[in-house]
Symmetry: C2
Subunit: 270 residues, 2 copies
């Protein structure tokens, strides 16, 4: 999916919402557990209920790998079920040497047909390059994450600013803003002005609205650009909005709420 395609979808749906399908077998309603593939069934119902309100789904690999080989079957079925006009993110946070990255890139982009994969920048350019060789595919690099541990290394002072600023600065030269996005936690909204000075054109994937407490209004105010440039992810607050068999309706209500707020916020800027 191109950057323009993504922007068109955002305008069309008046939404820059990404639903995180972090589906934990231990948290889904008991009523689904007797089915052959409860994780897929849960995802299917969430997708049916939300796909017109979001522009992306993000699948956190940990939740699928936890189940061993069977989990990857649920992942594969979920990926195939998601409509083609929706941006599909593998939240894998990989990062390895070249020949290994080649393999991960092939897995995520060719085998599973994801549009994008999240990566850690720690191993540098040659760990990211193999993913950038795919036209129309995306790399989403961790920059400033939403967790407390982001304070350990990401905000260390280097010669030229914080480490995460150096990550943005350098890596934004490895590929265009039609190939590279960055993870910036919603809990770090106050840093978005500085971040936008370094990467004005890139999309940002923003977790941390919802369960982790970030503000959608602040994120939009400081992070929006002329292509919107934001994909705001919410996982637990949507998919576990209800613990009963009406979870899909509850997820839809939660998405409607966020989509309506996003539409209004976009109106302030366009």
């Amino acid at each position: 999916m191109t950057k323009q395609d993504l922007f068109e979808q955002i305008k069309l749906k008046r939404s820059f919402l990404c639903v995180g399908l972090d589906t934990d077998i231990d948290k889904i309603p008991a009523g689904l557990k007797k089915l052959t593939d409860p994780v897929f069934e849960f995802n299917k119902r969430i997708i049916d209920a939300t796909h017109d309100l979001c522009i992306a789904y993000k699948l956190n690999l940990a939740f699928y790998e936890k189940l061993g080989p069977a989990g990857l079957v649920s992942l594969e079925k979920t990926v195939h079920y998601i409509p083609g006009n929706i941006f599909l993110i593998a939240d894998a946070k990989r990062g390895d040497i070249g020949n290994t990255s080649d393999m991960y890139a092939s897995t995520f982009f060719e085998y599973y047909k994801f549009d994008a994969v999240t990566l850690s920048p720690y191993m540098g350019k040659d760990s990211v390059d193999p993913y950038l060789r795919y036209t129309g595919k995306w790399v989403i690099l961790l920059a400033l994450t939403s967790n407390k541990g982001s304070e350990d290394f990401q905000v260390l002072k280097t010669d030229r600013g914080y480490l995460y600023e150096e990550v943005l600065e350098r890596s934004s030269k490895w590929g265009g803003s039609d190939q590279i996005m960055y993870v910036v936690g919603a809990t770090k909204a106050s840093s978005l002005t500085a971040i936008r000075k370094i990467v004005p054109e890139n999309f940002l994937l923003i977790p941390g609205v919802g369960a982790q407490g970030g503000s959608l209004e602040e994120v939009t105010q400081y992070g929006i650009n002329k292509s919107v440039g934001l994909i705001v992810n919410a996982s637990r607050s949507i998919i576990y909005a209800s613990g009963s068999m009406d979870f899909d309706n509850a997820a839809r209500d939660k998405c409607l709420e966020m989509q309506s707020e996003m539409g209004a916020l976009m109106d302030n800027f366009y």
Copy 2:
């Protein structure tokens, strides 16, 4: 496996060799491909031929995930086949927020029964903590890697030295040297003296001897400590020592060569 157990195995086998089972379906002999699970068959023969000469096996997840769910079946069978006195490393290079790390830790330590998992430090302490809650299990943090991209961020100057030094310094306080190891590339042997000043007691996992050109002698000279403190990994140079059906014998010869060099190097220090 405890640190003492590991040291005992090293002394017993006169070896600190780790064989990297980075088994690429596209590189194994044609004669195996007609079997039901060629990757497992390849691994089985490598393990049969080398398990008395090495003290660890490292499985790079990328090579298994590439094959989708079937690849994880090969992984699972391989892990079960490896004898219990051998240290088992999941080379996964994960790193994620707490609730996700919980899940990865459970996958690698409980589901697959790995002894250790490689992690990227970028997301900080709370991304590592869930793994440290397992007694007798290990975290292997990326510090200074063997690839060219290690120059991009790992050697950035911070207030208190290079970024990788700061990673060693801080993270070595998150847990003991019986829980945390570090990845240091063999191509960076000259940095080992400085690294040993910061983490004198920790084991180091050293890739990059063999295909990537690092020197075993230099690594030992600068990196060895009183428990040896080194696990030297070689993958391609061992498992693909021959491309024909005698690959297992060729792998054994290559291991014998390394084990014999290791034994001699250890004699210089004990």
